[in-house]
């Protein structure tokens, strides 16, 4: 993992001191709320419905066990004993005081953590494949490049007051577990015909009011030019992005209005003007960072699977958990284990301080001290010996984190919604709870198969409803919560935006509608066919007929 050197630490300490001073000036009235707000946002501090909320960055979704323990400490000391993992691989603390925030940031800095640029109209913290460095299908570790981009984008003098927020995601695998095409810039690591490492660059994706799947604007960008290209793209956006209408200020609107080809030309023109050496990525620096992410030698163990089979023979719950919550590791005999933060009836993404501490201990014991956060609001232990899976499973089960539902119908993404968020129009968490209770039976879930339900409490789409196989959007209709249903979204390599099925439902109605959609799928599917495949084959009409002709 990346560890801060003295220069990284110096900058982080200076940042904490700067914010402490800014808070003092705010309290003394030297800064108005209007002036202070963008400054606190760039330090992750929002004013939410009940209190301040602090969003702490989990850089590209990677955490050490010590960092996770620090989260537990923050949750216990400054909050109400829990935290909420978000759809951008971060953690949010919901009950924070302004006065204690500088102390929290200081505590976090002791383990190289921060809240820099987790909000505000700046380059947000970079997200990446949560299986980075462990996945068998990976071309290169996206964290190396994410860290380089983190450094370049941190306190950027020119790009800290952009028209709107700016999100960058990186994947090193074809499967795309980072949903890169729903980002302002999505980077996919590729090799060209000559075998050189580089990126496919997608620009102008996003969800929100006007969802777009990002078009490809550069088929191959040599890796060393990544910062030069980002610099060019950001300058075009800073100069030409709209600032007159907040709903049209994201880069996706600029790309759409210019057309991807023209936007690409504008960026290329700017790219050409830039000194090729000024931002050229230094080979030595890449190696320094790469070394820190390198996996220590792990001895392949080809016999482990047979042992696991034996254990699974004796425990059906273990078998089910291994089926859904483990993935193939690049080293034979190891596995990537998903720690579900979606217990039946629970709040998606929430973890108590005790759970965080235990996961940290389990990471030390079974996963080289490493933990990942996924944008689907789960945790991952990336380097677990297959032989240890039964022990890990049993330990997770003790703290209610062994739900065997990764990727299934109850692995629901939900934003905080009206219960916490000032932007929300409707609640999302209670819907997630009710749906997960409705489909609690694990046999039934495994029978239904892979299915993403995603719920947003407003059109800003933090719950990624556009990209859900089943998407639910909460709106406010004359003071009453109303829920719209969309079908057919995808957040993976084949990113797609779901389509609204018909008129919205009230809270009870939407639960029934989800049940009916799933029942319709089960009636129509052929053997082995997933929900998405059936939907693609049959289209929306059978679902529409079932929902609207009989209700």
């Amino acid at each position: 993992m990346y560890t801060y050197d003295t220069l990284d630490k110096a900058l982080l300490n200076q940042r904490v001191a700067e914010f402490r001073e800014q808070v003092k000036r705010r309290i003394a009235g030297e800064l108005t709320e209007d002036q202070f707000k963008p400054l606190r946002l760039m330090n992750g501090l929002y004013l939410q419905t009940h209190a301040y909320m602090l969003r702490v960055a989990v850089p590209y979704g990677t955490l050490s066990s010590d960092q996770m323990r620090k989260f537990a400490y923050i949750a216990r000391t400054y909050d109400r004993g829990y935290g909420h993992f978000t759809t951008r691989q971060n953690i949010q603390f919901n009950w924070i005081e302004l006065g204690s925030t500088p102390d929290i940031l200081y505590d976090l800095s002791e383990v190289d953590l921060h809240a820099i640029q987790t909000s505000g109209n700046c380059i947000r913290n970079v997200t990446a494949d949560p299986f980075a460095g462990a996945a068998a299908d990976e071309l290169d570790d996206p964290r190396v490049w994410s860290e380089i981009i983190r450094q370049w984008s941190t306190l950027h003098p020119e790009f800290s007051f952009l028209p709107r927020k700016f999100k960058i995601a990186v994947t090193g695998a074809d499967a795309d577990r980072a949903a890169i095409k729903f980002h302002d810039i999505g980077l996919k690591i590729v090799r060209n015909d000559a075998g050189d490492l580089g990126f496919q660059v997608f620009v102008g994706g996003g969800q929100g009011r006007t969802p777009f799947v990002a078009p490809l604007i550069r088929p191959f960008l040599p890796a060393k030019d990544i910062l030069r290209y980002l610099d060019a793209a950001l300058r075009v956006y800073n100069q030409h992005g709209r600032r007159d209408n907040i709903y049209k200020a994201r880069i996706k609107i600029l790309v759409d209005s210019l057309g991807a080809d023209q936007f690409s030309l504008d960026v290329e023109r700017e790219f050409e003007k830039l000194d090729p050496d000024l931002l050229a990525v230094n080979e030595k620096e890449v190696e320094r960072i790469r070394d820190m992410f390198a996996l220590p030698y792990l001895r392949p163990d080809t016999d482990a699977q047979a042992g696991l089979e034996q254990a699974m023979e004796q425990s059906n719950p273990l078998r089910r958990w291994c089926e859904t919550n483990t993935e193939v590791h690049k080293v034979p005999g190891y596995a990537i284990a998903t720690v579900s933060l979606k217990p039946v009836g629970g709040i998606p993404g929430d973890a108590t301080a005790d759970q965080m501490d235990t996961v940290a201990d389990l990471a030390d014991r079974y996963s080289l001290g490493e933990i990942r956060v996924t944008y689907t609001q789960n945790l991952v232990l990336p380097h677990v010996r297959v032989a240890d899976l039964p022990l890990l499973w049993a330990a997770l089960d003790q703290i209610s984190l062994a739900t065997a539902n990764a990727g299934l119908v109850t692995d629901i993404i939900a934003c905080p919604g009206l219960d916490y968020c000032t932007l929300a129009n409707a609640r999302s968490i209670p819907l997630a709870q009710r749906i997960s209770e409705r489909f609690a039976d694990l046999d039934a879930q495994h029978n239904i198969g892979p299915l993403d339900i995603r719920i947003s409490g407003c059109i800003n789409a933090c719950g990624h409803h556009h990209a859900g196989h089943i998407g639910i959007l909460g709106v406010d209709k004359k003071g009453v919560e109303l829920y719209q249903l969309t079908l057919g979204g995808q957040g993976n390599r084949d990113s797609a935006i779901g389509k609204i099925l018909g008129p919205g439902f009230d809270e009870d109605g939407i639960i029934g509608a989800v049940e009916n959609v799933i029942a319709t799928y089960l009636n129509m599917r052929t053997i082995g066919e997933t929900f998405s495949e059936t939907l693609q084959r049959k289209g929306h009409s059978p679902f529409k007929e079932r929902l609207y002709d009989h209700t």
Binding site: L7, A10, T154, R235, N238, M292, L368
Partner: protein
């Protein structure tokens, strides 16, 4: 309003937005709008331009004035509001594409908290907004000793600097 350069030195005052500047400000005895610049001068009036500054709003188009910049004494970029960060890019482009070597002044609505960003984007001085003090700007200029990006202002460029060797590899 007090004018402070990026080293924290005072440089007289900017009285409202009057055209005449006495004593001269970074070589400019007059500061005119973009429209007045184009109306009164040709890019070839190099002697006059050497004593002239232009004050630009966020909506002014630089390419309109390309021929003037190599000869102007100074350019003032007026922030319409501190949250509108276009002047940061304007300063970068002025230095790079328009070969502007003179002083770039930040004016209008901006915060002391942006002082280092301004310096590192290529600004030379600030017209200190009325509600803030020179002291606040001076202390903001000292807030950071390092930066990750190449830029002006003396901070080491961490993307290029030889960094410490790693202190630890992945735990385990």
């Amino acid at each position: 309003m007090i004018i402070l350069d990026t080293k924290g030195q005072a440089h007289g005052e900017r009285r409202g937005f009057s055209e005449q500047q006495e004593p001269p400000l970074f070589g400019a005895t007059a500061i005119v709008s973009a429209a007045a610049l184009k109306e009164r001068f040709a890019p070839t009036d190099t002697d006059s331009l050497a004593h002239t500054g232009v004050s630009l709003t966020v909506d002014d188009d630089l390419s309109d004035m390309a021929g003037y910049f190599p000869h102007l004494a100074m350019v003032e970029l007026v922030f319409s509001q501190f949250k509108d960060g276009r002047p940061f890019s304007t300063a970068v482009v002025l230095r790079r594409d328009f070969e502007f070597k003179g002083a770039i002044l930040a004016a209008g609505d901006f915060l002391p908290d942006q002082a280092l960003f301004l310096l590192r984007a290529g600004f030379s001085a600030f017209v200190v907004p009325e509600q803030f003090t020179a002291k606040q700007f001076k202390s903001a200029l000292l807030a950071y000793s390092v930066a990750y990006q190449p830029g002006l202002g003396g901070a080491p460029d961490l993307l290029k600097t030889l960094r410490d060797p790693p202190t630890a590899v992945a735990a385990g």
